[in-house]
């Protein structure tokens, strides 16, 4: 009977995601006829406004694409421009970049777990409500978030749109004592990260295993963050310069974020994809903590992303502590850069997944053309596919509110960044 009704559910705003989007769902004869994640975040046209700007301005410009992951944008851009100019940065600078990037993973993951995702685990509307009943867990999360921000601040002066990164290295290296003091604080926070992982394993819901490809960077030695080859669990293994030969961005009518497909199919980037492709690169302590949770891995349940984020907080604390505990400021915070005409590619692992940049420069180092593929555009097709499967399995006969909440949870589990892409979720269920 329910299928005969025509119902419209209109939820004017998706809570606890970054950006503007909507979900259209049309159900008829008990089947999904149409499902679209509509993103209408206003385009800010960054690739065009980079044209004609000096290479030296690029780290400050691309940071403004996303207030939550500015470091990722700065890192991919610096890497790409250094490649275009044939500049090699040295080990101490690479270590500083890795430590700073760890700060962004810690703050972004801690923010997502506690302020955006965890209220769903208990049925709260917000972390502020959740804090009344679970004050210790929320405070622990906010403290981890603050520690991540402090780590970014050490290298960049502030945590949102930091100012320290330049093409060739950094404008300034932290003072010895400042670096080491933070290293000790990071080490002291490790038990919190272990407790967080155990807590997430016990409270986060599980979904269903689905069939899809994982895509992430794969590095010769490290858990991937700042570099590596682009790999999938289906045999893909390419250099960052070959991204465009295998991945294709398509515009769809309902979104200002382009859909990116791997050989015509949706795929997943982000913490779960990274973890599944790089479990052999996890430090022992992190792998051990994961095993003790009893959660079966590998998993193709995207709700396991929350656990992957917690494990990555643990990893990032460890890595940054290791780099900073014995920190000595490098002789020079940057290497000399001489611009030239060229093309460079950059690929790093933003908190939400693979962030790929390409720049063409002229002889003075001015940007001729830029292309940026953020993680959320790569995950968009996968989110739609997941919603279709998850809602079908959940039961389309359920009430509109239940369907809406389930849809929101699925979307939030991806931590979509709709400013890099959604703050308007407008779910319309049409039943015929």
């Amino acid at each position: 009977m329910a299928e005969q009704r025509e119902i419209r559910v209109n939820v004017p705003l998706l809570a606890r995601v970054e950006g503007e989007g909507a979900l259209d769902l049309a159900v008829s004869g008990g089947e999904i006829r149409e499902l679209r994640l509509r993103i209408f975040e206003p385009p800010r046209l960054f690739e065009k406004l980079l044209e004609g700007r000096s290479y030296a301005e690029v780290p400050d410009i691309v940071a403004r694409i996303c207030g939550i992951c500015p470091v990722a944008y700065q890192m991919s851009a610096a890497q790409a421009l250094e490649q275009a100019f044939g500049v090699e940065v040295d080990e101490p600078i690479l270590a500083m970049r890795r430590a700073m990037y760890c700060g962004e993973w810690i703050q972004s993951h801690a923010l997502h777990i506690h302020l955006l995702a965890a209220p769903d685990f208990f049925g709260y509307g917000s972390a502020l409500e959740m804090a009344k009943d679970h004050p210790a867990e929320v405070r622990r999360g906010l403290a981890l978030q603050a520690l991540g921000n402090d780590l970014i601040r050490l290298f960049g002066g502030r945590s949102v749109h930091p100012v320290g990164v330049r093409v060739g290295g950094f404008h300034r290296a932290p003072a010895r004592d400042e670096g080491r003091a933070l290293g000790r604080r990071l080490r002291a926070a490790l038990p919190d990260a272990q407790a967080l992982t155990a807590w997430i394993a016990s409270v986060a819901p599980r979904g269903q295993e689905q069939e899809f490809a994982f895509v992430a960077l794969r590095h010769a030695r490290e858990y991937p963050m700042y570099g590596g080859r682009i790999a999938s669990d289906r045999g893909l293994d390419i250099g960052t310069e070959d991204f465009e030969t295998r991945f294709e961005e398509r515009q769809v009518a309902h979104s200002t974020a382009l859909h990116c497909l791997l050989e015509g199919k949706p795929y997943l980037v982000g913490p779960l994809a990274r973890l599944m492709l790089n479990r052999d690169r996890l430090p022992e302590e992190v792998a051990g903590t994961l095993v003790r949770t009893g959660v079966r891995l590998p998993s193709r349940d995207t709700f396991a992303s929350a656990l992957a984020r917690a494990a990555e907080i643990h990893l990032a604390l460890l890595e940054a502590a290791r780099i900073l505990e014995n920190y000595e400021p490098p002789a020079a915070a940057s290497v000399p850069v001489k611009p030239r005409a060229g093309t460079g590619f950059g690929a790093t692992e933003a908190p939400r997944g693979l962030l790929w940049h390409r720049y063409e420069t002229d002889a003075q180092g001015k940007i001729v053309r830029a292309r940026i593929v953020p993680p959320t555009s790569q995950n968009q097709a996968r989110i739609e596919e997941d919603l279709r499967l998850a809602l079908q399995r959940f039961g389309l006969e359920r009430g509109d509110d239940e369907l809406r909440l389930m849809g929101e949870k699925v979307i939030r589990s991806y931590d979509p960044c709709i400013s890099c892409a959604t703050h308007f979720l407008d779910l319309r269920v049409r039943r015929e």
Partner: protein, 261 residues
């Protein structure tokens, strides 16, 4: 039932970075939630875009027809309206497209530009509705938003901080990067509030906090030329994060026109 003051945080065209001034407050965010009711703050959870509030914080600029309508509704529902950040206060970096053919730019990125709805010009909030307080900065800081909130709830509008970054460098004993190293710094025309971070990193201020009071942009423009920048490069220094702030917009144009003169 609740007698707490009601607060909203609204997002327009932006990077979300200024909302983080709240979300990064840590314990102070929990404390603030005891003192005020966040009636609408989508990223934090509460969703009620039509909420009537005492203070509305607005992030982002107006760049689509939908946003132009929505900001009027926000104004009508808010006792005080506070813009947070360069986008809301001056249009933000995306206002750079105002100096170009926006349609062509959209066509340069999107295969099907007809599906993308965008106004020809990106404008700050004050171009559409009355604004009670403007907080400059890209991004604004936690202390800026908390200070504004406390003052407004006490019934007063805090005086704007319009000093130049140079003053802050002096207070912090930061060696002047322009005098000592010949770095083309925007500090002499830029408003403080950031803590003069960039010069403390040995680099140029790039004017993310917008124009200071009475900025002598012409004089700085000549100084930057003296340091070896071309006039187009001088113009690009003004036409950056706060390119649509009138003082910087005009200074950039003047720098370019001197080239023809």
């Amino acid at each position: 039932m609740s007698a707490k003051p009601r607060v909203a945080v609204h997002k327009f065209s932006s990077c979300d970075g200024c909302q983080l001034a709240f979300l990064n407050l840590g314990d102070a965010l929990l404390a603030a939630a005891e003192l005020v009711e966040f009636a609408h703050f989508a990223e934090a959870g509460p969703v009620d875009p039509q909420a009537r509030v005492d203070v509305a914080f607005v992030e982002g600029s107006i760049s689509t027809p939908e946003e132009r309508e929505r900001i009027r509704q926000v104004r009508a529902n808010s006792r005080f309206l506070v813009t947070i950040g360069a986008c809301a206060t001056a249009g933000g970096i995306q206002a750079l497209r105002n100096m170009h053919d926006a349609k062509q730019w959209v066509a340069g990125i999107y295969a099907l530009p007809e599906y993308v709805s965008a106004l020809d010009k990106v404008t700050p909030i004050a171009a559409a509705v009355k604004v009670d307080l403007e907080l400059w900065g890209c991004p604004v800081s936690g202390s800026q938003v908390l200070a504004a909130l406390s003052a407004l709830l006490a019934g007063t509008v805090p005086p704007p901080d319009e000093d130049k970054v140079c003053m802050e460098c002096k207070r912090r004993h930061t060696v002047c990067v322009m005098v000592a190293k010949g770095v083309p710094c925007m500090g002499p025309v830029t408003r403080t509030g950031c803590g003069a971070i960039c010069p403390s990193f040995g680099r140029d201020c790039y004017a993310c906090y917008g124009p200071a009071e009475n900025p002598n942009t012409a004089s700085l423009g000549r100084r930057l030329e003296g340091l070896g920048l071309t006039r187009n490069e001088v113009a690009a220094r003004f036409h950056f994060i706060n390119n649509a702030a009138p003082a910087f917009h005009e200074a950039g144009i003047a720098a370019k026109e001197r080239r023809r003169g």
